[in-house]
């Protein structure tokens, strides 16, 4: 899986390099193309002007009955290789030519007067081509002149060759830059992926390389590392949870085996006592399983359980009525103050939380402990509190105190009494109802359990 990711990542490097190199190549080719065109058109326009100038000079000479040979030679000399020619066709058809008149396919019309050249005319700039222009004479004859493009083209060709050289150079360096840049840019990601290769179900401790910069890859690495941190922590919790469950089961199972062993060689009365002990242990184990299953049911399938309106005060007073005699038997004054409040939830689960809280107080506080059960609406939430004047919850910080909600949490010196799941289940239920259950120090001196829940019809329970 991860190896496939690395391979596709390497392909990504290649793709990125190709994209960058192609862009550089295209841009440099286009740029050269435009530059050359511009230079070529410039040359053509110079040639156009030269043809125009020579045509007018010859026209003047011919009009003045002067032999233009001298003037043509002058143009030719100015053109270095003397490629210039002129001819006059009279009305009667007599042709007089000065210089070497070229073949028609060697000529191209010049652009003179108002007209201008476009960039596409650059293709006309070829060796051996002559520009052609003509004008009518006063006596009805036609004066034509041609001038070689070569001297003008030469310069443009030099520019073209230089541009081609630079294009190749630029493309090559663009390709090199692209490859090295992508290699360099993706290196942290590749390193990160390589380190991911070592993360597996057996070792979650590896982390991605994070150079601590604001680079996006580092930021992603940090985010991913945080996720890995969370996953590792929850893995550790699951492992610990598995261990704890196994330990929870071991003691009662050993007890069953031991009791059965001893009873098998004993009297009938002993066997009867052993059976009753085994039955009690089995009941204890099934309570443990029930609590575990209930926690997982609420956590995993909670969303499918139908919610109903709950009259908090009514249900609270019913549970308190169950516990009132137990408290009064040990001279624990139980005060109860209930304001009308409604929430939405599962009544059976609601009762379970209150039962667990009161069982907890009954189990963990001495006789004559004061107890106060209270429910009221506070800032749009329903607050249910159970206060006692007992010894309170161990721990000095809220975090330490709230660890009693951990599964299998037991106070110091607590053995055998329950499995430490009651409060864990209660918190799960409280959170499932959209609120939370926390513990604090009571003004009565002991523990104060606070369960807040959204008021009825408050989101997210309008459904």
């Amino acid at each position: 899986m991860t190896n496939r990711f690395v391979r596709s990542l390497r392909r990504t490097d290649g793709r990125a390099a190709i994209v960058i190199a192609t862009t550089v190549l295209t841009v440099s080719v286009l740029q050269s193309w435009f530059l050359y065109r511009y230079v070529a058109v410039e040359a053509l326009e110079q040639a156009d002007a030269w043809v125009d100038h020579s045509l007018h000079t010859i026209h003047r000479e011919v009009s003045n009955q002067i032999d233009p040979t001298e003037a043509l030679a002058e143009f030719g000399r100015s053109l270095d290789d003397g490629q210039a020619a002129a001819r006059v066709t009279t009305r009667s058809g007599a042709v007089s030519t000065w210089g070497a008149w070229p073949k028609p396919e060697q000529t191209q019309p010049a652009v003179t007067g108002e007209d201008t050249r476009s960039l596409f005319d650059a293709d006309l700039l070829k060796p051996g081509i002559l520009l052609y222009a003509s004008t009518s004479l006063a006596d009805g004859g036609l004066l034509e002149a041609v001038v070689s493009l070569d001297p003008f083209a030469e310069e443009a060709f030099e520019v073209r060759d230089a541009l081609m050289f630079f294009t190749v150079l630029l493309s090559a360096s663009g390709l090199f830059a692209a490859i090295s840049a992508t290699f360099w840019a993706f290196k942290p990601l590749r390193d990160a992926t390589d380190s991911l290769n070592h993360v597996g179900p057996h070792d979650l401790s590896n982390r991605l390389v994070d150079r601590g910069t604001l680079d996006p890859i580092d930021r992603h690495a940090r985010e991913l590392n945080q996720k890995l941190e969370d996953i590792e922590a929850s893995f550790a919790r699951i492992r610990a949870f598995g261990n704890e469950i196994a330990h929870e089961f071991r003691t009662p199972l050993n007890r069953i085996a031991m009791v059965a062993d001893v009873a098998s060689g004993g009297t009938e009365e002993e066997a009867r006592a052993a059976l009753s002990s085994i039955r009690a242990t089995a009941g204890d184990l099934s309570r443990l399983v029930d609590s575990l299953l209930m926690i997982s049911e609420v956590e995993n399938h909670g969303a499918t359980i139908a919610h109903q309106p709950i009259d908090v005060a009514e249900r609270l007073s019913k549970v308190v009525a169950l516990y009132e005699p137990a408290f009064s038997d040990r001279d624990s004054p139980l005060r109860i103050e209930l304001s009308p409040a409604n929430i939405t939830g599962v009544p059976e689960l609601f009762d379970r939380v209150i039962i667990n809280l009161l069982e907890n107080v009954l189990q963990h506080t001495p006789a004559r402990t004061e107890i106060e059960v209270d429910c009221r609406i506070d800032w749009g939430r329903v607050l249910i509190t159970v206060d006692d004047s007992g010894d309170g919850v161990p721990g000095s910080t809220p975090d330490e105190m709230n660890s009693i909600f951990d599964r299998f949490a037991r106070g110091p010196g607590e053995h055998g009494q329950g499995h430490g799941l009651g409060l864990a289940l209660s918190r799960t239920i409280a959170r499932f109802h959209g609120g939370d259950l926390t513990v604090d120090t009571s003004r009565l001196g002991g523990a104060r359990f606070v369960w807040w829940s959204p008021l009825r019809n408050d989101p997210p329970y309008t459904r």
Binding site: S276, S277, R279, A280, A282, G283, S286, R287, V289, D290, L293, M294, E297, T304, I305, K318, V319, A321, L322, Y323, P325, A326, D329, V346, E348, L349, D351, R352, I355, L358, E359, L362, Q363, Q417, G418
Partner: protein
């Protein structure tokens, strides 16, 4: 009565058979849905004890079949999961009662007996020693003199008296009298039972309710 027991765990099934036969019932065991359906077609039953999770299907399928074929048979579902929805579903589909595994055998026996009696109408007047109970009018009296009990206390006493001879667990008392489904780790139920005892004793009825250590309470026959 003739009882169909649908249970795939053979050890559990054998134990159920021993217990039910000892109580004077005739028992037919079915390890899966197919053989249960076969049994329902070939003979008539007065009652059925149905496990929910089975290798070849669900006990609810057998329940529907049973309701169709033998509408008068009493049914008790055995659910292994403490799933709230499971229980509701069982009662919705026409089961008469349900038990969460593992249950006290006495609980199953008592429920079967109680359910069986239900259609004919259970006796509303009970007399045991000097105590008289009228469960329809919620009146308890000792030697003709009215005993003042709270509704909860009356519920506790009448359940123990109604099922006298049976051991009733604390969890069962909580379920029947208060409607809460849990096994307490504290003495919350004992305190209520003790109050009933004290009121009985003040009227001269002592040791009516016996404590069965590690099990629950009972009233002797």
């Amino acid at each position: 009565m003739k009882i169909l027991v649908l249970e795939d765990d053979l050890e559990t099934a054998a134990a159920l058979r021993v217990g039910l036969v000892r109580d004077g019932h005739e028992v037919v065991l079915a390890p899966d849905v197919a053989s249960a359906n076969e049994a329902i077609y070939s003979s008539a039953f007065d009652a059925a004890v149905l496990d929910v999770v089975l290798p070849d299907g669900s006990g609810y399928d057998v329940l529907s079949m049973l309701r169709e074929k033998l509408p008068s048979a009493v049914t008790v579902m055995l659910t292994a999961r403490s799933s709230i929805e499971d229980r509701v579903r069982g009662l919705d589909r026409g089961a008469d009662d349900y038990l969460i595994k593992p249950f006290a055998f006495a609980e199953l026996a008592a429920r079967l007996r109680a359910l069986r009696r239900r259609p004919q109408g259970e006796a509303t007047n009970h007399t045991i020693r000097e105590l008289e109970l009228d469960t329809s009018r919620h009146i308890a009296a000792v030697r003709g003199e009215r005993l003042e009990l709270t509704p909860i206390e009356f519920g506790l006493l009448s359940m123990l008296v109604r099922l006298r001879g049976e051991v009733i667990t604390r969890g069962e008392l909580l379920r029947e009298v208060w409607g809460y489904d849990f096994d307490p780790t504290t003495n919350v139920v004992d305190v209520h039972v003790n109050r009933v005892r004290r009121k009985l004793e003040s009227q001269g009825v002592s040791d009516l309710i016996r404590t069965r250590r590690g099990e629950g309470y009972s009233v002797d026959k």
